[in-house]
């Protein structure tokens, strides 16, 4: 059976179009609507789409101003500019007054590909999750993205939706997928080791768990779509039951999912841990898959990381 592939940015645009009939929804973009896919909304509801030009700082604070007038505002641009260039507007004009602005940040991570380091944000999760009042969501596929957009519309307050450029396998079944804000999802069971993953790396983590299983290692795989507020319960349970946690993300190992998980683990149930992500380096130009290979973000690297972690786990057990 052929696996369907849809980029999460594509699912984002489709969801805006699908849920856009609500007259209180306004969508802003910074001259990237064809790439962020907000053009799907623009084509259907042109009167509620506003092009803000290449001026992301102004876009974020303008979105805040519109939101003060009881509207739900989606503001889209590349994740690099949404979280980086406009960081302080997001902080002071959106998060401080807790306004109803949903940041649709596309082209996150290395899989931007050929555009290279200047456009590959690998620090946006770290920046956005540090902000009070902000909810940070990093969906794993198109089905989860649609649900995340719906949740963002139904929940008051600032949201950061981390979306990808690259077409990504659809791993969830839209007929029985259930999205609960702030709740992780166990997508493979096992008690030898836990792989906690987010975004584009989730399907690779699933594949890695199958490779591990063929070698007799049962890995639990947890998909964390809501990075903030993070699901403490599912992490603590995994730490207690498997004694080893491997985090996997298309983001710097500093401040992202790995850090968020480590904060919970260290304070509640310290166990052997390892983080897979971009190792304090900038990205570069190249085909997305070649970049993932170069930066060690492959299913093979996850398998190797899991095995290394099992070694740590034994050492920790011996020490205990």
């Amino acid at each position: 059976m052929e696996i369907k592939k849809i980029a999460t940015r594509e699912a984002y645009g489709s969801a805006l179009q699908e849920f856009g009939s609500n007259p209180n929804i306004v969508v802003l973009d910074a001259d990237l609507s064809k790439s962020t896919k907000t053009d799907l909304f623009k084509n259907k509801y042109p009167e509620r789409f506003i092009n803000m030009g290449i001026a992301e700082g102004n876009m974020m604070a303008t979105a805040a101003g519109i939101a003060t007038c009881n509207k739900t505002v989606f503001a889209s641009t590349f994740a690099m500019f949404a979280s980086g260039r406009a960081f302080e507007q997001v902080r002071n004009s959106i998060c401080y007054p807790a306004l109803n602005v949903k940041i649709g940040a596309t082209h996150a991570g290395l899989t931007v590909g050929e555009d290279g380091a200047s456009h590959q944000t690998i620090e946006d999760i770290a920046l956005m999750r540090a902000l009070p009042n902000m909810t940070v969501i990093s969906p794993a596929d198109a089905v989860e993205t649609r649900a995340a957009v719906k949740a963002a519309i139904e929940t008051k307050g600032p949201f950061y939706l981390r979306l990808g450029r690259l077409a990504c396998p659809v791993i969830f079944d839209e007929n029985n997928y259930k999205f609960e804000l702030g709740k992780g999802i166990e997508i493979a069971s096992g008690n030898d080791v836990t792989i906690i993953s987010t975004g584009y790396m989730v399907h690779l983590s699933l594949e890695a768990s199958k490779l591990l299983e063929s070698e007799g290692i049962k890995a639990r795989v947890i998909n964390i779509h809501t990075i903030k507020p993070i699901d403490r319960d599912i992490i603590i349970k995994a730490a207690k039951e498997t004694g080893a946690i491997l985090t996997v993300e298309e983001h710097s190992i500093i401040g992202g999912l790995g850090s968020a998980v480590a904060e919970v683990v260290v304070e509640n149930c310290p166990v052997a841990m390892k983080r897979i992500g971009v190792n304090d380096k900038f990205g570069k130009s190249g085909k997305p898959d070649a970049l993932l290979e170069m930066y060690g973000l492959t299913k093979e690297a996850i398998v190797a990381g899991a095995k290394e972690l099992l070694g740590f786990k034994k050492e920790v057990m011996v020490l205990k």
Partner: protein, 281 residues
């Protein structure tokens, strides 16, 4: 023009100025200079112009005001308290840890504050957003904002102005509090934004230049702005930093310095004297 009304507005402004001095004095910190320079504009906006309901600060059809130069919160708080949004005696809690009167305006805690500001250059964008929302909803409310003349060194201001003109936001009226001074000295010496009139016009605004302490001129400029169709209006208000207290006037040093007891007493005495003279005018 109604002389009695102008006298009232002058009285309102003098009370705002007294409240600025009292707030900054009681907090031992804050920004008196730029607060004093925009007090007359705020007096006209809140006591002659804006459609607001102090008992219903979130009223959807109200006119909006964004103090983009958010550090001049003592002036805004003074106007809001006098208008009845919250008790005037609370002004003494300004900047204190158990107060809702934050150093820079917070819309979450202060009734009547339409946007949280303080980081320069962002408030004007929010005002643009409110004006865009008014157009989307076909509402007739108007949006007012005050920019500092040092503040316009922030690039974001020009992004916001470009956007306001592009979308023909004739429901937006912006004041430039052109007092000529910023923390480090004269704006023309620190980093000149001049010629401001030409720049605002080039960015698509209708520009009206006035004396920002002359009530007839402020009122007329607002009337003209309301009649302007198809473009936003910038009112360049020539003002005096520290206006109303002689030893504070035109001194950059009073940008962010609190008066001591002696200075506070002298300032209040001078403003009381102004009020007494106004009554017998």
């Amino acid at each position: 023009m109604d002389r009695q009304k102008i006298k009232e507005l002058k009285r309102n402004a003098a009370i705002i100025r007294k409240d600025i001095i009292e707030q900054v004095y009681s907090a031992s910190s804050g920004h008196p200079g730029g607060s004093m320079s925009c007090a007359d504009i705020l007096s006209v906006l809140y006591f002659n112009e804006m459609r607001v309901e102090p008992k219903n600060p979130q009223w959807e059809d109200r006119d909006r005001f964004v103090l983009s130069k958010g550090h001049c919160s003592p002036a805004l708080y003074g106007a809001l308290a006098q208008k009845g949004f919250f008790p005037r005696e609370d002004l003494h809690t300004f900047r204190k840890v158990d107060s809702y009167l934050e150093g820079h305006p917070s819309m979450k805690s202060v009734p009547g504050v339409d946007m949280s500001t303080g980081s320069l250059g962002q408030g004007i964008s929010a005002a643009v957003g409110m004006a865009l929302a008014g157009k989307l909803d076909k509402k007739d409310y108007r949006v007012y904002s005050i920019l500092g003349d040092g503040e316009i060194q922030e690039g974001q201001v020009w992004e916001a102005l470009m956007c306001a003109a592009h979308y023909k936001l004739d429901n937006l009226t912006v004041f430039l509090d052109h007092n000529g001074l910023q923390i480090d000295g004269k704006i023309t010496e620190v980093l000149s934004p001049e010629p401001v009139k030409d720049k605002f016009e080039a960015f698509g605004f209708k520009v009206i230049a006035i004396d920002g302490h002359d009530y007839e001129q402020i009122i007329q400029a607002i009337d003209e702005a309301k009649k302007t169709k198809g473009q936003p209006v910038m009112i360049i208000a020539e003002t005096v930093k520290g206006k109303g207290v002689s030893f504070m006037e035109n001194k950059a040093g009073w940008h962010g310095t609190a008066p001591n007891k002696e200075q506070r007493d002298a300032a209040i005495a001078e403003l009381d004297e102004f009020l007494a003279k106004l009554e017998v005018e």
